[in-house]
Amino acid sequence: MAARLFPRETLKQRCAVAAVVAAAVIGLAPLAGPLGQTAYAAGQAPEERAQPLSDPVLEARALALGRQLRCVVCQNQSIAESNAELAHDLMNEVRSMLRAGKSEAEIIDFLVARYGQFVLFKPPFDGRTLLLWVGPFLLAGVALWGLWAAVRARNRQAGIPPLDEAEKARADALLADEPLRKDLR
């Protein structure tokens, strides 16, 4: 008979599993967040007060840049998607800077100097954002370690002895899907 994965559920084990699941959910939640937001923001109404550039290539660059910049008024929309007044003003500012021959990096620096790193949907990887970037992986790692430790402790508690040589050989045979000898069946 196969060893049950959950031989005897004690309170302790349930608590351990619950803690592991909670840690995993919290650790992975930040990864799910941005995906949901983008999908939502894409369905918003088009701009009204935009002053698009006549050059389609430049306008495409302006919109691509605008989508990376957070609107500080509505916060979960980019300035390219938002209908807030300030978002229109900032988009038009981005357009006029592009028309003046400014690079994407210069425009991003311009906005960060005024509104802070908050305007960047993708914050830079530096000392202050280390936890933001590494945190989810760290938590997921802790959760996996907890799961492994809990399963191991459970097996030990359930009194399942390690396999001896003969059992090991039989397990190998089973796994290799070889026909079994009659006396072992």
Partner: protein, 196 residues
Amino acid sequence: MRWKYGLPLIVFAGLVLLFAFGFRLDPREVPSPLIGKAAPLFSLPRFVDPQSQAGPQTWQGAPYLLNVWATWCVSCRQEHAYLLQLKAQGVRIIGFNYKEVRGDAQLDARQMTVQAETEFAWQRIGEWLRDGGNPYADLVVDLTGRTAIDYGVYGTPETFFIDGAGVIRYKHIGPITRELWEKSLRAKWQALQGGQ
């Protein structure tokens, strides 16, 4: 191994601490990167005489509050009476009118000429100051909102605390109330007097 029983409790306590801290933060308050930097220079028309211009270079020498407002802004109406009291206490407040006409959601300024927009803005500001009183030592008008971008303005009212050397020391987002002034803002204002 009995300590493991307490593990969920420890995790829970950690979450409570995290949330107790996190939910007190207001995500609408975006910290300004301009604190500690010189107030960006500009020249905008003065309300008293549209032909003359003023900016931080005009006002430096003594600390002041740069109060960003508009007549269409409801919270500005709310703080206006208290600004008058602050003026009476000797606080030097410089007004910065933000997008008086085109910022008003009830109006469509796209149909207006610049001339008409200017006249309409001056009329509205004039009525406001006549009816509600004038707390401002000087008042400039930013019709397009372009200068406000240099200050990272994203709403009204906002108030910059600028010292005598022209350095931005603090930014307050939202209306100034008596409670806020007495609790924290007065100390920020007084700190400006010493730092030159």
